[in-house]
């Protein structure tokens, strides 16, 4: 996942709302589980609000996620935002993921604002996994996963799923320093935020395509 960290400029932002969007087999769930697993391994409590209950515990454990440290909330469409708000408000969770699955619920703007403020207040990284971008400007970081290319082993007889290659594009990355700068220079017409995937000089520089940072992620498969 180092390529993803590079695209994000060092990883998911803390105390902020972030978004992972992508269609089926783009590795959305894998990215979420990797973030949860990393935090759980560090000794933190993590939570997953799972719309539809799509998590496979066996696969999650195989992905390195310490299951006893994961609070798993299976819920329906109408309950997801309320559930994630409750978990974030409780405090103490390092990463809280909201997995919207294939659903595209109509979410009021106020809900994202509330979630963003909750994340900032509690110091929690809130990841929202959606099939298409939904959080918009309330996300401190947003990546888009696309162009999945599954890899099948066909050398020794019948095909066998081996993994997939996915393009990850950072469509939004709020640079806190730039934000502060822009706040200081509100009067200046040049004080606009450079939060659309801009990379500072010291950051690793993934490939740029049309002004956006992108990279390729390779996923294995343990089916």
């Amino acid at each position: 996942m180092s390529a993803l960290d590079e695209v994000l400029g060092g990883g998911w932002p803390r105390a902020a709302l972030s978004e992972i969007s992508g269609r089926r087999t783009t590795g959305r769930t894998a990215v979420v589980l990797a973030a949860l697993a990393r935090a759980a391994r560090a000794g933190e409590a993590v939570a997953l609000v799972d719309m539809g209950g799509a998590l496979d515990p066996r696969a999650a454990a195989a992905a390195g996620l310490a299951l006893p440290r994961l609070l798993w909330v299976r819920c329906a469409v109408g309950e997801a935002l309320k559930a994630v708000d409750l978990v974030v408000s409780a405090g103490g969770f390092d990463v809280v993921a909201l997995d919207l699955g294939d659903e595209r619920p109509r979410v009021p703007t106020s809900a994202w604002i509330r979630l963003k403020h909750g994340a900032e207040r509690q110091g929690t990284s809130v990841l929202v996994a959606t099939p298409a971008r939904a959080v918009g400007a309330f996300a401190a970081a947003a990546i888009e996963l696309s162009a999945p290319t599954p890899r099948f082993l066909t050398d020794a007889g019948p095909p066998l799923l081996d993994g997939a290659r996915v393009k990850v594009t950072c469509v939004r990355r709020l640079n806190r320093n730039l934000e502060r700068e822009s706040e200081r220079s509100v009067a200046s017409p040049r004080g606009a935020r450079g939060d659309r995937g801009t990379a500072s000089g010291s950051e690793p520089a993934p490939r740029q395509e049309g002004g956006e940072l992108c990279a390729w992620l390779a996923f294995g498969c343990r089916s």
Binding site: R24, A40, D56, C75, L161, F219
Partner: protein, 500 residues
């Protein structure tokens, strides 16, 4: 042995005032049906507050007489639940200071010899602390510390706070000015002493012991020994008891409660009183059981699990309210009994450099609220089920206790994991000799580009719901890689999910 005696006079009246603390300081009288005498079965005043007594209300009056004597007097009635809870609270005052307590009606006794280090200011300060603890649980108590139970009991009647000097001489000097009526409740003995012209304990102590014993018997001799400060542990041994496993608070309502919010308001009082008792013992609540008496008959018993011991009343009330909202009582409520399970507060050594994780009490409340929102079966830690069924998943109780870091796995790379459709969705699949070539489901219609399989799995042959499946991983033309299976018993196809 130095013994503390905590006496709560008029415990029945105080049990009502404990339930309704706003009545403290006002004229109140306890009305109860008499069980003997000419007025048997009729309600009479049995206990009165100081304010009512000053206004002329005395025990034995009828309610009308009391109201005539003191127009503003509040006539109260105590239920067995009130008295029982007050007795339990009184015992907990003792358990706040000692591991073993002896209980008597309206009294508790406990040894205070070992408390010198904790209360170095002396026994008078200790008695004051005990009285303050009684006030915290809603009881107005009189406290005395003396050598032996008998002297302590008399001293508590004599003064609100008393520390009788150690030794028989000190006790004799303390008791000397007290009237005989404080030494014994036996009317015959009192009359005998009155006939002899002995009015104080000091005068009784001056009587020859043997002669008094011959004339008054064993009871009279006991009073004489008490007046001399000679009644010790051998005469009245200390019979301690251990605290009860659970702590109960109860209330019988004079009206019916139909809705959850008023009921939660009633339960709030019970929870507050229970927590005050627990706090005095340095304990927290680890579990709640609520027994609701329903109208006209029936009980609604519900156990409210708590993830971690807590003393936070708001959390407990929230848990109760959520439980009531999830499963409201079937009938109006006319009484409630709260049983709190005491437990030590979890002591956690936090790491200086690592996050503490969710606070146990907040986590408990959050899980309860989530359970109320999505159902208790949908909240917890995921658990792997020991079966060959791929879609099997279980939810275990979530309790975050360890924040020790875990070693990184050998392969830290991200892996595609399957997103399950629960239950598997039945689909139509077009097959040829090599396997699936097209699939059509509720929201999936695609050609199959690559199909990997079949991977056969079967099991649970000993059950009627056994399974025999042929699994396939198919790369569909919509770009996704699906996991599907054919039930080999009836040939139907199901979509298990997709890799993501």
């Amino acid at each position: 042995m130095r013994v503390a005696c905590v006496w709560v006079p008029q415990l029945a009246l105080q049990s009502v005032l404990r339930r309704e603390p706003e009545l403290r300081g006002s004229a109140a009288a306890l009305l109860m049906k008499t069980t003997s005498g000419t007025a048997k079965g009729r309600p009479r005043i049995v206990e009165v507050s100081n304010e009512a007594r000053r206004a002329g209300v005395v025990p034995g009056m009828t309610g009308a007489q009391a109201s005539a004597a003191c127009p503003g007097v509040r006539l109260l009635s105590a239920t067995p639940a009130d008295v029982e809870a007050a007795e339990g609270a009184l015992a907990d005052v003792g358990f706040s200071f000692a591991p073993r307590v002896e209980r008597e009606p309206e009294h508790v006794f406990f040894a205070v010899e070992d408390l010198g280090r904790l209360y170095p200011l002396g026994e008078a300060a200790l008695a004051q602390t005990i009285q303050a603890q009684a006030a915290r649980v809603g009881l107005e108590a009189r406290v005395a510390i003396a050598d032996g139970k008998a002297v302590a009991r008399v001293a508590s009647r004599a003064r609100e706070l008393a520390a009788v000097p150690a030794g028989s001489d000190g006790a004799r000097a303390f008791l000397a000015p007290l009237p005989v009526t404080m030494l014994t409740d036996d009317e015959e003995l009192r009359a005998a002493f009155r006939r002899w012209g002995t009015r104080t304990a000091g005068q009784i102590a001056a009587l020859p012991l043997d002669a008094a014993a011959v004339r008054l018997g064993a009871a009279g001799a006991r009073v004489c020994r008490l007046a001399r400060g000679l009644l010790g542990d051998a005469d009245e041994p200390f019979l301690p008891a251990l605290p009860q496993d659970a702590l109960e608070e109860a209330i019988d309502l004079e009206y019916r409660v139909y809705e959850i919010e008023p009921l939660a308001f009633v339960l709030r009082g019970l929870v507050d009183r229970a927590l005050a008792r627990l706090a005095g013992r340095g304990l927290a609540c680890a579990g709640l059981t609520v027994r609701l008496s329903l109208d006209p008959r029936g009980l609604d018993v519900r156990a409210v699990p708590i993830a971690a011991p807590t003393r936070d009343a708001a959390t407990l009330i929230q848990l109760l309210r959520l439980d009531l909202a999830r499963r409201p009582p079937d009938a109006p409520v006319i009484g409630a009994r709260l049983v709190a399970l005491p437990a030590r507060v979890r002591a956690t050594q936090l790491d200086f450099l690592r996050a503490a994780g969710p606070a146990p009490d907040k986590l408990a409340a959050t899980i309860a609220r989530l359970a109320a929102l999505v159902g208790p079966e949908n909240v917890g830690a995921p658990a792997v089920v020991d079966t060959w069924r791929e879609e099997a998943a279980a939810v275990a109780p979530f309790s975050f206790s360890s924040n020790a870091p875990l070693p990184a796995p050998a392969n830290d790379g991200a892996t595609l994991t399957i997103r399950r459709l629960r239950p598997p969705q039945e689909i139509e699949v077009l097959v040829d000799l090599r396997g699936p070539v097209a699939l059509r489901g509720r929201d999936t219609t695609a050609r199959v580009l690559i199909a990997a399989g079949p991977y056969r799995a079967s099991g649970e042959w000993w059950r009627e719901e056994n399974f025999a499946r042929a699994y396939w991983d198919v790369h569909a033309s919509d770009g996704a890689v699906y996991r599907l299976h054919q039930d080999e018993r009836d040939g139907r196809w199901f979509l298990d999910g997709y890799y993501d």
